[in-house]
Symmetry: C3
């Protein structure tokens, strides 16, 4: 276990509009406000969502794109940086018309149908990611 | 994408008691502390829960009420205001005895069986909702 | 409904390493930083997870241990204390290779496969738990 201690600085509340991509929109917020790093909670409704499951054998994400109107039931994760670019790491679960749920690692494209309501809690410290060759994934460099 | 920048002001920790409604209880906290707006995380256990799925054709929520003891596995969302009254927008997923999960938009009645443990992060800015005629829903006015 | 008002003090960002237990790692963070109390959001990937469903008849948790690589899709909850020892109360949902989700109350052992990314928001007040004989569970003493 590794850890760092920091403080909350700002809160950004975002409204993501119909046909906008969830991750692109959060990247825009990061750039607009020059967000250092932080964590994200988001709910809303989507018309398309791509979720991933990391396959330990191939060291790649298996992905599934759902082209349906769904509720974004949970979406949480964090903002960090790799090579100067923001990495938005989110996990999401979505609810269908029959209230069943599927979920995983959030991937693009994931497109808003009605609205996305995001709360970003900025922390007062920039967190970087570096590639971990064991998994071929960018993990937190703390 | 629209967005605002604000700060965290207070944190309210709430314990919702058996037979209390989750949303009513959060409204009581909003009134008791005069909470400006903010976001909510809640876990607990319920004896009844009502969840909704927004149907894009009828522009209405389809709803389902579950009368079972369930774990409140995730519950996240936010506090805003419409016409001076607090709107508690939450999405929830619940876990059954066989650990299966269903979820959606949280609707009343949703009644605590054992306890509800809510963390409210208040922000230093009042957020309003206005009706969006395209969906017949109150969306964030930011 | 009972409630208290407090402030955010620090944010601890933790990276939980492969083969570490999620709850043990958060307890280590609580001890390392002398965290008063607070709430937790965590995502990541696990190789083993134990989830519980509280059975109202026996007043005990039914439990299930999953020995698979899974995405930790949502994990939220809080830190409090009982008899001076930290209690990490988390509810979690996990996503399988087919993107299906199960979930419940998080129990040990729950072991990281790749990484666990935890954000802890510390509050400026120590929250205690006491046993509620009605349920034989430690509930928030607020």
């Amino acid at each position: 276990m590794k850890s760092i201690e920091t403080k909350v600085s700002r809160v950004i509340v975002g409204k993501i509009e119909p046909n906008e991509d969830l991750i692109d929109s959060i990247i825009k917020m990061v750039n607009k406000y020059d967000i250092k790093s932080g964590f994200i909670n988001c709910i809303g409704a989507l018309k398309k969502i791509t979720i991933g499951y990391f396959d330990m054998e191939s060291k790649k994400y298996l992905t599934k794109t759902v082209d349906e109107y769904v509720e974004l039931v949970s979406c949480m994760g964090n903002i960090s940086f790799r090579d100067g670019k923001p990495i938005i790491h989110l996990h999401a679960s979505i609810g269908a018309r029959d209230y069943s749920i599927i979920g995983g690692h959030l991937i693009q494209p994931s497109i808003v149908s009605i609205t996305g309501e995001a709360y970003i809690l900025e922390i007062d410290r920039k967190i970087e990611r570096v590639n971990d060759p064991q998994f071929n994934l960018s993990l937190l460099a703390i």
